[in-house]
């Protein structure tokens, strides 16, 4: 296994800074499409506008998700939320020509890509963009997604991280295969349970050596995977105490993996609802939530757990008294299958809604809104809050999901960023020209012995 040859300090040192990334969400109910100012979700102009605004705000990175099958609801494509999005790397290659500094992160699946092909394409993006590419590593294991691919559904859930890690190791060996930055390349071989790779790579190292690796995944397995392989992890823990706790956990795992306390950076997913005053921000939040989860979305949300149509129920009334027709919930709205006992869940939810006096709509909003990950308040108050994160090193940054496209970053860049800069916790210029430099990550280095092992498989 490739080991990183860097200073392996066992003491975590906070950088005192936070960085921003922007996640152009695409499919889900988080992006508001019903407001008059909601733009196209697929036109290039929307992507250009968001990326260039983020770059004006010195964001470290621009992220795109990946779709491999349209989400379905009761056996048909889901009609209510934003759906349809371009291929991540194609879009990022186009954005590379109209941006200069911002990192370009493509979410790409290990299950339905081939390692040599994906490594080559990511290396291409990295070269074309001048060392700004990154890969957000995700896995899938369901046959439903596999129906769009030659392999079909071939991977067991239990195997997916093992499979993903072998994939990532192979990709790294491909990127490491050039003996010097200029060559020559060495042949890379891998023979595993699911795929065989025999390739002599064609692309040299980029300005940042190789693409930066991001990973999301909160299970112990996912965290260990990140601790061993990733440069940055997207955590699901933006609340201060939870963030500090997550940092401790990840530092321990990184030390355990032999990579040192600062090896993996943390960027929780987050949403910002900001205004000049706290009152205005709260009003805005109501407006946002109403447009994210409309009456039809609220009922549809329950339908996927009940497994039946519930359109006769009043979204402003109580939860349905009838029981689910399915044994297990099958949330076929993406790649996730929840598999909870449907009847048990329904009972629990009915009790909870009754207890809190919530209608269907308010209950669903409470379940689906980014409660934990939303920062609501005045620019100054939120800036103070974030400065505290920076001071203790709770996180390295936030990956912001704008709820409006293409203007959703404007107030963050125009108002929040300057407040953070005044507090000395946000960059005032790009540190270099590569994503690795913006993030302050060390360049991977290998000893000759590691290099030799890397190509032997």
């Amino acid at each position: 296994m490739t080991q990183h040859n860097r200073a392996k300090s066992d003491v975590f040192v906070p950088s005192g800074q936070i960085q921003f990334g922007v996640f152009f969400q695409g499919v889900n109910s988080g992006t508001i499409w019903k407001a008059p100012e909601s733009g196209s979700q697929t036109d290039f102009e929307s992507f250009r506008r968001i990326a260039q605004t983020a770059e004006r705000g010195l964001f470290a990175a621009f992220f795109l998700g990946e779709g491999l099958r349209l989400r379905e609801h009761l056996g048909r494509p889901h009609a209510l939320d934003v759906v349809g999005r371009p291929d991540a790397q194609t879009m990022l290659a186009a954005l590379a020509s109209v941006t200069e500094n911002i990192g370009l992160v493509a979410t790409q699946n290990t299950t339905y890509n081939d390692p040599a092909d994906l490594a080559h394409r990511l290396a291409s993006l990295d070269l074309i963009s001048g060392g700004r590419a990154a890969w957000n590593i995700v896995t899938t294991d369901n046959a439903w997604t596999g129906a769009n691919f030659r392999r079909g559904g071939y991977l067991d859930h239990a195997d997916r991280y093992k499979h993903a890690e072998a994939f990532v190791e192979t990709a790294k060996r491909i990127w490491d295969s050039w003996e010097t930055p200029d060559g020559p390349a060495r042949r890379v071989l891998h023979e595993g349970q699911h795929y065989t790779v025999d390739v002599t790579p064609l692309l040299p190292r980029s300005a940042q050596y190789r693409p930066v690796l991001f990973q999301a995944g909160d299970s112990p397995e996912g965290r260990n995977f990140a601790a061993r392989q990733a440069d940055v992890i997207f955590s699901a823990h933006p609340k201060f105490d939870a963030a500090v706790e997550f940092r401790k956990d990840l530092v321990e795992r990184s030390i355990g993996a032999g990579r040192g306390a600062n090896a993996v950076q943390i960027m929780p997913a987050s949403e910002f609802i900001l205004a000049a005053t706290a009152e205005e921000a709260l009003e805005k939040k109501d407006w946002v939530r109403n447009l994210q989860i409309g009456p039809q979305q609220a009922v549809a949300y329950l339908e996927q757990f009940w497994g039946r149509e519930l359109s006769v129920y009043d979204p402003d009334g109580p939860l349905p008294e009838i029981d689910p027709v399915v044994e297990e919930t099958s949330e076929t709205r993406g790649s996730g299958f929840h598999g909870a006992k449907a009847r048990q869940l329904a009972d629990q939810w009915r009790a909870e809604a009754k207890d809190k006096g919530l209608s269907i709509r308010r209950f669903v909003t409470s379940k689906t809104a980014r409660i934990d990950s939303t920062f609501t308040g005045s620019y100054t108050a939120v800036a103070d809050q974030l400065a505290e994160y920076a001071r203790v090193g709770a996180v390295d940054g936030f990956n912001i999901s704008p709820w409006l496209i293409p203007t959703g970053l404007d107030d963050i860049v125009n108002h929040l960023v300057p407040e953070l800069q005044e507090r000395g916790v946000y960059p005032t210029e790009y540190r270099g020209s590569t994503l690795r430099e913006h993030l302050g990550l060390e360049t991977p280095e290998r000893t000759a012995a590691e290099a030799a092992e890397a190509v032997r498989a």
């Binding site: 759906v83 349809g84 371009p86 879009m91 394409r121 963009s129 795929y195 790779v197 064609l202």
Partner: protein
């Protein structure tokens, strides 16, 4: 056939540029301002050659008129990914994307993805299947599927999305597969991207499945005859594009002294700009377009831009370039309706 053929178009292969963005921008802008209608991007494995589709995508936002046409493999790549990537290229180029279908016999490409090597007629079968998958997926969202209907809360009209339900045909030589669909991205701006194939794939790939054929000949003398042959096979509805290597007298050096050999067995022209203009004039009487492969991209492009294209334009042999036009416009193709839309939208009996 008309006595006065429609003016032709010129494509240029931009191989030799593109390991970094600045170099690629310079090349594609030079080609566009020279008046080329189409830029193509080779994807054959070569040291230092970055992914063709990404080079084309990078060029999208910095250009306005030139069509951007990458070569994309069909044998060792996933048809679903290929379809989505090409549709996305159409979005980032505002409808100027096309696809050169590649199906090369390559043991190296097979080994890289751990598959057994595909050879002979099976290559064409893989290409045909991949083209069909892409075309079905591009049609799988009808043009007006995104409705954004606030009163009913519906972002899309589900009745306007369709499963592609592709299965490899009986007798398929390779490992059979299926693709469900619909696409993950709305219908490309052009509806269907123009699909270009090398003449060597015709047969397994039917003329009905393609929009243009790339025609090669072993010598410049034989090229026009080869174009006539292909034209007779595919009919007038499919464009013919003659493939030509080019090296020009430039910077005080004779063409002959500049380059020793070309690769790939294509017809080659070596000589003066004026000689090339005459040769292209005769070739464009037979072919709808010519794709030039310059021996040295920037050196030859300069001569082409300064001397050859202006002369051809002066003689009225080139189609005008259209700002914000589509690649289909260049080829004179209508924007087709989705195959799925015609089945439901037209009343019975009115569809033919």
């Amino acid at each position: 056939m008309s006595t006065f053929p429609r003016p032709g178009f010129l494509a240029i292969e931009l191989d030799g540029a593109g390991r970094d963005g600045a170099d690629l921008t310079r090349a594609v802008l030079a080609a566009e301002s020279a008046g080329f209608h189409v830029a193509t991007f080779s994807d054959a494995p070569a040291p230092g050659r970055t992914n063709a589709l990404q080079r084309a995508a990078f060029a999208g936002p910095v250009t306005r008129t030139i069509a951007l046409v990458p070569e994309v493999d069909t044998v060792y790549t996933e048809p679903f990914h290929v379809s989505t990537q090409l549709a996305s290229l159409d979005y980032v180029s505002l409808g100027r994307a096309g696809w050169i279908v590649a199906a090369a016999e390559s043991p190296e490409a097979a080994a890289a993805v751990g598959r057994s090597s595909v050879t002979g007629a099976a290559l064409g079968q893989e290409a045909a299947a991949s083209i069909e998958v892409s075309r079905r997926l591009w049609d799988s969202w009808e043009d007006d599927a995104v409705i954004r209907d606030v009163p009913t809360g519906r972002y899309i009209d589900v009745d306007k999305l369709h499963y592609a339900d592709f299965e490899t045909p009986a007798g398929f030589a390779g490992a059979g597969y299926s693709v469900k669909g619909p696409s993950i991205i709305p219908r490309p701006l052009q509806g269907q991207l123009p699909v270009l194939v090398p003449a060597s794939l015709l047969g397994e790939v039917s003329a009905e499945a393609v929009d243009a054929v790339l025609v090669s000949a072993p010598s410049a003398e034989l090229l026009a005859a080869e174009v006539r042959d292909v034209r007779a096979r595919v009919g007038a509805g499919v464009a013919t594009i003659a493939e030509l290597d080019v090296v020009l007298d430039a910077r005080g050096q004779a063409a002959g002294s500049r380059v020793a050999t070309f690769d790939g067995g294509r017809a080659a022209f070596a000589g003066s700009a004026a000689g090339l203009a005459d040769f292209l004039a005769s070739l464009l009487a037979e072919a709808d377009g010519v794709r030039l492969h310059p021996a040295s991209l920037f050196i030859d492009l300069e001569e082409l831009s300064r001397l050859v294209l202006p002369e051809l334009r002066r003689r009225g042999l080139l189609r005008p370039v259209v700002q914000d036009g589509t690649f289909r416009d260049v080829l004179g193709l209508e924007r087709p309706a989705s195959r799925y839309a015609s089945a439901t939208a037209a009343p019975y009996g009115a569809g033919k």
